[in-house]
Symmetry: C2
Subunit: 512 residues, 2 copies
């Protein structure tokens, strides 16, 4: 018993040191995106490489392996160990083995290839020259396949699936390509059909981007701070800042920072980024204090994280009830600009549906289609049923099938996203999984809290946070996504709640 506890304490010390170093690295990265003087980048890269390297050293410390073995020698079940400690050991072991299976040489090779690949992608995108990027993409796919194999996926003849499964598992533990395909493919068909109905019925009325009146950026910021605070973001435990691309980062248990950017010609893009990142922030700020400074103190997966951000941004933030609470306040901030704009037009404008070429600008109906398309292409690349040089053609074909539009260039087609150039295969699905999880949670929440619309209309978010906190936020990595979902909803991953939500909302909106 003493030995077991001694080993466990030592493991916690290693883990805590790793987490403090990772948080320190996160401070360096946050500063880089928000504050760093332009010429400071070189030294910062060196500082980051060093601090991240030291964090990694703690993760793969041979002492950790020895301690894990010692604890295992006490028997599989480790009798008497509290559930929290069991979860800690499971997650620590997962991180340890995953990290250990990649040799330092291989990690360096990946980093080098990634650097070259990203630079090539920037040029290729600028010059609309997919061919110039193709060899780098081949290389990144090759390295990703190797990575998946190092992690334990086997290419033995007759083995099910592809190396892609091993990659998906990084972002969404326990979910394979077949599980995702079973949900994504029918969803794609239905969303595509709905989108076609909407576009046949009406042209989008996105008045904001065409409005020549300027929306004062300082006022946007003031409104967003009021909104974020009212939504429940605790500014004694976090910050809102500006950066080129919005993001959320955790620098400490009581230090979660989100960023946004504002455009003077358009007031809602910055605002919805704030709500989206706020959703990520609520999750990280809602962790059980017992997980503090341990490897459990993070969101459990990319998909669950996106379920929170997309729930707040879209399901809550673009709802009638929500704006019943905020419309008049927003109008006070932007009196001249909002003159003559009634609630309904405002609500329609923020929910305008229009198939577009670019994922990050997509509306709620077409967004998941962009993701499903990418998922299918990734799967085929790793199944080797699609070659890299065939990718632009396959992309354009799928765009036409799903969205009914076709990119005029690869720049606004297959080259638009940074993810593949970084070798982040398996990451895209998280975005659409977030939509699905989000609505599975939301249906359950509304069962438990039937007065939610009224609460939203009076800007009272307490019950929502209490429910999400108790059922999702606090668990961190203790519950894997599958388990979290099953415990809470009694269901597996399903697109039904999301489809119900989308069909109801947009049938009404577009009077289909």
């Amino acid at each position: 018993m003493t030995d077991k506890n001694g080993a466990l304490l030592k493991l916690h010390t290693l883990d805590r040191e790793r987490m403090y170093l990772e948080r320190a690295a996160a401070v360096l990265r946050w500063d880089q995106e928000t504050c760093l003087p332009p010429k400071g980048v070189e030294d910062r890269a060196e500082q980051l490489a060093l601090v991240e390297g030291l964090a990694h050293e703690r993760l793969v410390d041979p002492e950790a392996g020895r301690l894990l073995e010692e604890l295992e020698s006490h028997g599989e079940a480790l009798p008497g160990l509290p559930a929290l400690e069991r979860d800690f050991l499971r997650v620590f072991r997962r991180d340890y083995h995953r990290a250990l299976k990649l040799s330092p040489e291989f990690v360096r090779e990946c980093a080098r290839a990634e650097g070259l690949s990203q630079a090539a992608w920037v040029d290729a995108r600028k010059n609309n020259d997919f061919a110039a990027f193709a060899p780098h993409l081949e290389k990144m796919i090759d390295l990703a396949r190797k990575k998946s194999e190092y992690w334990g996926w086997t290419a033995a003849p007759g083995a099910p699936g592809s190396a892609y499964d091993g990659l998906l598992d990084v972002y969404e533990p326990g979910l394979g390509a077949a599980d995702i395909a079973a949900v994504f493919l029918p969803l794609g068909k239905k969303l595509s059909a709905l989108l076609a109905k909407i576009t046949a019925k009406a042209a989008a009325s996105g008045f904001f981007s065409k409005d020549p009146r300027r929306w004062d950026v300082q006022k946007q910021d003031a409104f967003c701070r009021e909104l974020l605070g009212t939504l429940g973001f605790d500014f004694t435990r976090g910050r809102l800042d500006l950066s080129a691309h919005p993001f959320t980062t955790t620098l400490g248990f009581n230090d979660v920072r989100i960023t946004t950017r504002y455009a003077a010609e358009e007031p809602l893009s910055g605002l919805f980024s704030v709500i989206h990142e706020g959703g990520h922030g609520f999750y990280e700020l809602g962790l059980d204090p017992a997980l503090r400074s341990s490897c459990l103190a993070e969101g459990t997966s990319m998909g669950i994280h996106e379920s929170q951000s997309r729930l707040w941004e879209n399901v809550i933030g673009r709802s009638r009830a929500f704006w019943e609470g905020w419309f008049s306040r927003f109008t006070e901030y932007f009196l001249p600009q909002m003159e003559g704009l009634d609630f309904d037009s405002f609500y329609r404008a923020m929910n305008a549906v229009s198939p577009s070429l670019i994922r990050v600008e997509a509306d709620e109906v077409s967004y998941s289609l962009h993701i499903i398309l990418r998922f299918e292409l990734e799967q085929r690349l790793f199944q080797k049923t699609l070659r890299v040089q065939e990718l632009p053609g396959a992309w354009n074909k799928a765009m036409e099938e799903y969205l009914g539009i076709k990119p005029a260039s690869d720049t606004e087609g297959v080259l638009q996203d940074v993810h593949w150039s970084m070798g982040a295969f398996g990451y895209f699905p998280s975005y659409a999984l977030g939509n699905l999880y989000g609505l599975q949670f939301w249906e359950k929440l509304r069962e438990c809290l039937p007065d939610t619309d009224a609460a939203l209309a009076r800007r009272d978010y307490t019950a929502i946070h209490d429910w999400l906190g108790k059922n999702i936020y606090r668990w961190g990595r203790r519950l894997e996504p599958r388990r979290l979902l099953a415990d809470l909803t009694g269901k597996q991953l399903s697109a039904e709640p999301f489809l119900r939500y989308i069909e109801k909302k947009y049938t009404e909106l577009y009077e289909l």
Copy 2:
């Protein structure tokens, strides 16, 4: 030759890692003072302790000791080694031995005692209760004496000086208490006499603090940014931010950040802080790129650093010529507030002399007196000719002798500064040394650049920076203060140039 170079390269790697970690810790500290959400302090303290501990590990790495020995075995002179490498070895060795001589247990004991002492000082200051702080101060003096002994000062009977010499050497390498006393004591008498003459002649006319008109803080910031940029601060290599107490910190070779704070009732306090910290910044930004990321890449001493900040703040920033360049611009920024205020009154107001109880609010004439008083008391404490319980009395007596005023309470007397509670004995002299060095440099600069007043009046600072850069900035820690001063002026430390400057300026200003 190969071995020697191999050992040197390894030493540089250790040194670079230490410096990157120290810079990373500086990022964490900067963020703490400017950005950190209030509740983030606890985790930040842990992150800082860890990163600073890792930096320290590199400094005292036994491998460093082995490499230094190996290099020494190649002979004292290390024939063929470039001067830069010799300087590197000298400074690295100094840091290494200094750090090695304090055991980890002793460092922890100091940190613990410092924490308690600072907390006790905060309370004692609030409650005007010196007696409650006295035991902590005794302890800090005792620890400082031990530290000095560990570093090599010997208490043997007949040994010259006191443990204080060993502490002074931290901040001002090569300068002992006797050297400083020889200059400070006559300076104190002369400044005190001048101050008495001024106060007999005229009451101070510090109109700013009494002015009920508010000075818009955003305008102050805009003016300060314009001023700082024009002075030559490169915003692609640095930043200006807000913090409770102004400071300068180096986060990378191209990342030097200064802070200030603004008061709406007074426009010059924030502004002179910007110029003061800007002076520190110019020094750090002017280092020779060859020193980058090494232990040489810092100002050579606290005193020399203060010589730069105080030169810019006072000698340049409070001069007639400087404001001939900026008065009309400043008036443009603050048109209503400046109405009816002519150049002469403005210039007089910023140079108003009035003995005050608080060091940080002191004018140019009395500032050094506050320092000399502290130096004398520190010296007596370490010579054991003054006991801690006698300190308040000695303080008040010296205040009356030097400044002709007496604190009504210890809070605005002996308890006003944080330094002693931190055990930073020997730090205070740097401030006055900065005044002296600064004028020694400035007299030389004006010999070389006789048109300086005209350049200042047309806001052209290029020649000044070129001269300071070539003679001071670029050297970093390669030249110790004594050597820097001797090479540049041919002189030892002297108060004569400072006294000449003060007497001329204030005799004219107060028509003595």
